[in-house]
Symmetry: C2
Subunit: 138 residues, 2 copies
């Protein structure tokens, strides 16, 4: 039986079986930086219901500059999470859509977003307590 | 029935019901930045099996500088995700442990980490294809 090819060897990257986030040399860390990024989380979630044009996507995400949204879309397109399709119309219509890989990311990023939303009051309370304690011991 | 208090109002922050990550003014975004951070994901996961001292935690996470680990621990302690306990020994033993809130974060951050590990080959393949396409059209 063939041995799994490590993602970090000089063998074909396509044959890598899986990464290890606890290995400092493993590219999983770079991927983790990308998929845990706030804008990635929000853009992937905003595309859950179907393809969107840049302008509507920017409105859906909210509070994102055109520059940052462009950078985020380029990065996640490069990583195979979204497609950018130019429809031959006048003016050309450009749409962004989740790929099957992007769809598979929906569940974990939505879970992370929901956790942040649900536990916000506890985190704000912890911060307030922490600041009060810092004042008392100062 | 009392109305939910918005996290951004001047009312008590402790009474906020939940956040909305798609609202640019909501502090959920700051929380999302913190909990999606690669080092937070790895530290929370490394503390899953019980309390750890700084040195062993640094070994468990792997490839993290003392400075970045210190900053990460301070931030997640402030947010109520971990506790820092100084045991009265000579020399004093300092241990970090997950709080119940930190435990509740384990599932979403582990899901994100596992997704990154499992889909690493597909992402690396997408990047390779993207670079080849860029060369062809250059």
């Amino acid at each position: 039986m063939a041995q799994p090819v490590d993602a970090r060897t000089n063998g074909s990257l396509h044959e890598a079986i899986r990464g290890d986030a606890y290995d400092p040399g493993c590219p999983t860390r770079v991927v983790l930086d990308r998929v845990g990024d706030k804008w990635t989380v929000l853009v992937i979630g905003a595309l859950a219901d179907g393809p969107q044009r840049f302008t509507t996507l920017r409105q859906s995400v909210g509070g994102v500059t055109a520059k940052v949204l462009t950078q985020t879309l380029r990065a996640i397109e490069r990583d195979g999470l979204v497609t950018r399709t130019v429809h031959a119309e006048v003016p050309p219509r450009v749409e962004y859509a989740l790929t099957p890989l992007g769809h598979s990311l929906l569940e974990p990023v939505d879970a992370l977003r929901r956790w942040a939303e649900e536990h916000l009051p506890e985190i704000l309370a912890a911060r307030a307590t922490h600041e009060t304690a810092a004042l008392v011991t100062a």
